[in-house]
Point group: C2
Chain length 657, copies 2
Amino acid sequence: MTSNMPALITAVRQYSRGTETQVMTDITVTFRRCGITASAEPGDVLLDVAQRSGIQIASYCGGQGTCKQCEIVVLEGTVEPKDPARWWEEATEDGTATLVLACQSLVTEDITVEVPLRALAADPAVRDVDVLTGELVDLSEFLPLTPLSRQFALALSLPTHDDTVSDFDRIVHGLSDQDSELAPLTADLRLLRELPSALRDSSFQVAVTVTDTGVANEIRSVRPVATADSSLGLAIDVGTSSVVVQLVDLTTGRPIAASMRRNAQIAYGEDVISRIVWTQQHDDGLERMHDAIRDTLNQIISHLYAQQGIDPEQVIAVSLAGNTTMTAFLLGIDATTIRRTPHIPAASALPVLAARDIGLATQPDAGVFCHPAVSGFVGGDIIAGILATRMHRSEELCLLVDVGTNGEIVIGNRDWLMCASCSAGPAFEGVGIDAAMPATAGAITSLEYDAQRDTIQYETIYDQPPRGICGTGLVEMIASLAETEVIDRTGTINVDFPSARARGSDYEAEFVLLWPDESGTEEAISIRQHDLDNLLRSKAAVLAGITVLLGNLGLETTDVQRMYLAGAFGGSLDVDKAVAIGLLPDVPRDRIHVVGNSALAGAYLTLMSRKARNEANEIVSSLTYLDLSGDARFMDEFIASDFIPHTDLSRFPSANM
Amino acid sequence: MTSNMPALITAVRQYSRGTETQVMTDITVTFRRCGITASAEPGDVLLDVAQRSGIQIASYCGGQGTCKQCEIVVLEGTVEPKDPARWWEEATEDGTATLVLACQSLVTEDITVEVPLRALAADPAVRDVDVLTGELVDLSEFLPLTPLSRQFALALSLPTHDDTVSDFDRIVHGLSDQDSELAPLTADLRLLRELPSALRDSSFQVAVTVTDTGVANEIRSVRPVATADSSLGLAIDVGTSSVVVQLVDLTTGRPIAASMRRNAQIAYGEDVISRIVWTQQHDDGLERMHDAIRDTLNQIISHLYAQQGIDPEQVIAVSLAGNTTMTAFLLGIDATTIRRTPHIPAASALPVLAARDIGLATQPDAGVFCHPAVSGFVGGDIIAGILATRMHRSEELCLLVDVGTNGEIVIGNRDWLMCASCSAGPAFEGVGIDAAMPATAGAITSLEYDAQRDTIQYETIYDQPPRGICGTGLVEMIASLAETEVIDRTGTINVDFPSARARGSDYEAEFVLLWPDESGTEEAISIRQHDLDNLLRSKAAVLAGITVLLGNLGLETTDVQRMYLAGAFGGSLDVDKAVAIGLLPDVPRDRIHVVGNSALAGAYLTLMSRKARNEANEIVSSLTYLDLSGDARFMDEFIASDFIPHTDLSRFPSANM
């Protein structure tokens, strides 16, 4: 199969450029399990053909042939190697078919393939998550509430000979009567064109939405007052791996519901860098990347609408927290410059948009606030996180650690703030780890291995049968396996461990946590060596980032008075174990606060309060960025931290190994 | 032809609604002189067919069958009456064809027609006019200049590891270095999407345009600095009958050139009311009305570009002064509510637009300022006029009289302002008057009839052979014909006057001013009874408006300390004669200032100065509107004023009749 076929492909390609051969050279690719038949041209990459057809195949490396996530089974016909140097193929276990990497395969003839379930990127399910509660969403500091967009019901008097103000001014007067602080009020041409009929069709009884653009209050829509249900907003965390949308009552500030799903962009790369590279390699790359996140958001939003019985027209405001690249992709802004040194984004602060600008399934005029970014690698998500913890108002020295696909670390207080970011990878978010799942029903949150009895004790969310392990459970799992010496301090599985759970060898080694008959999926839930390596690298990156950032300021871990742990961890995380595995430095436990999704909490605050939106901009101007990329100390610390908990045990006096 | 054909038309219409008859029932209308062949459906109005085909036929009444401007010659085939009650037809002089009104004719079969030259609406020629000079455009009050849009050449430093601000912030810093008063600076999503490549393609050497939106300075475009020629702007008077565009150097404020042409909307009606009615009667009426004024503007603008050798990209700012309806049509806003009592416009103040929003042939991002309106009948043109005269800053009691298709009258000083408007008609602008033309080369500006010698003495602009009479010349003509008793005090031509110049009778009466061999057009230049009636009604409306407005305030004509006469009159207007015919009240002549196109002068000021733009908004809030429509005193005064100079001669003590 890897013989001298490229010559043939070239010939076919040249032929297909002729004028009348388009139909003759079209190739049919049948995706058996998906029930999809796609047409392709000779020389098309199989992964592209699948993605074009709406089949989301995982490709964390962005098509480089390195992550091996896009394994696909060729049942009939053959494919050709894109680059012989990166070619890989293997017979299936039963020997009847061939496994290849879709990203490295060129189609040259009709083929039938099957996508293994594990290659299907990103669990496409939308899952409900607990709505925000607790200390991070205390609105008492932000009263009276000043949501990004507000709806006012106006019963305007009809124009008469003695009252001939313009339609627009009539609305302005009506609004000012309800809130004298709305001036200056503006409107764009689109609204003015609709205004005369909008007012008269509803006999001047209208619901008017007003959006705070930062420099003015813009009248965004004028509709019949009969449709004026309660007005709703969305707080959104646009994560590299996971996207969470929270539905909020804008009048009361009450969070109503929240749901999440994987970011469909995972099909184009695991991290922001590989996704940017992917957009550079595809002519319509930016457009497709935009479509993927827009579709992801709209799937979650539609799920919430259906669940809560909501009319999309009720949703008039959106606050988005995402890293700089996620935000750029959603806005259709080229992110190439973020990848290239010195990593410059198009803008730090962004204008308040309308939902139609980016295709969100809300009222088309809904205001959209995007949190400002500090740099290419310190984005709106971390600004939102700072805002939520209130560390920028604290007298105490605070440390915020957000463990996401991009790990972010902020230190400071009300006088100064410094931040750094590190590429932690999405391991704790469960991406690329078969045994993992989001923190929703059936997820294992707590896990302990009893080596003597060779049993696993666990707790799941809502006590549902176990389907996988969430971030919190992964921390406890590592701690327990290390404590029982199933794994050593480098995270290597002891394949000689006296239990049938430990099996395989080297990179194929795995430890079975739940046997098929114990699992809610009827398949074994196992942790592989590969998974442990990824998890340790993630935590090493975070710990190294903390160490270097503190060291840069001449600070010790013990100087930190409050430490906030945000990201893929619930409030049930056992902080002792987070310290035990070296995810967090060894500080007194009462200083550690597990705050969950701080980016979402910040988005909630900016959705509800002008003061919070102003503070977001203030945070940007007081935040200094420390660039860890190419920092030799960071690489040294990273290597030293890729142990449980660290090579230097003196830094973890409380660790009880 | 007027027999019982409507029944047949109904039958044909029903037939044409069938599924397969579209082609069978199509009718061909051949416009012989224009060289255009159009297809129509049975029952289409001939005027619509012509207008759809781009043939601008005059229709001052908006298709009501009353103005009789749309006479058309049917050479082959026949047309059917739209409304038998309004039907009119007449054989041509040679008896070989039939004259009908295009607006009252339905097409039911293939026909060949010819449009008489006099029916072709609106002289389509673009003509150059003198650029503004004199007292109305003194910029010394407005220094330093703050044009609506400004262009800055920025030589930005390249991003480095030590200088990682975002692209947008880099531009903001560069702009702030040049002008510290530009904050807050904003940009829309479109610009942010273009920014990364715009900066890098030009190695960060860019020309940036910034537009003052009233609430912020918006960065509108970022282009390679090599294209940064001098930046230009346009001041525009969007008149109901005539449109004037002035090209201005934004850096120095120097007016470069100005040109005008008829407003192509004349094809849809002479005044704003008939045009609004026309938009109501046609599904795509508003769109076609918008297209007509946009095309008119772009024809003038393109003429100026060609004449001055200008790249459209240099034009970055536009200031528009138009009445409320003209502005609404240009912006694509429905004006129906302006026509209906109580005459409400969509908005008083309008947002600063981009040229692309309304299709102007400038840089697409050019800022567009529209002067705010007070009401449906006191528009941005009169606000611009007040601004230009500075009467809102004057200690003296000032009266501004703008004689346009809509006559506007403002009285007041720096403490208060009151205005009224009256439907004067476009007679003094020459519309509908065969002998008239705009005040350009060859126009008669001064005219005197020597009854004893039966000769006409005249002066023309640039001493060119006479081609017609401009507004100033029309005033002198009426004064002279009245003085020599060619016409009586009601404006009626004395057909028994002992001169071959007086000929015809009743409504067909006319007075020949220049015989064919004396005229630059080789056709006689005559004034008809119909023309004189229109001119007298125009001046009567203006004089009645002044009288009622003053009376309403308990003021006498003599209380007025400064009177500004604006509109279709040049600085050469003989004010004695304007008083003599009763266009203006009898005040001391040194109080009368003929100020030309004050609306254009105001647009020039707002183009160049933020102070002027702010003043425009202040004027709106201090201006009270007196509604003359349905005012019995106005109707009485109008009838009494429809004389030369007035029925009550005691009001004109200086009149030397």
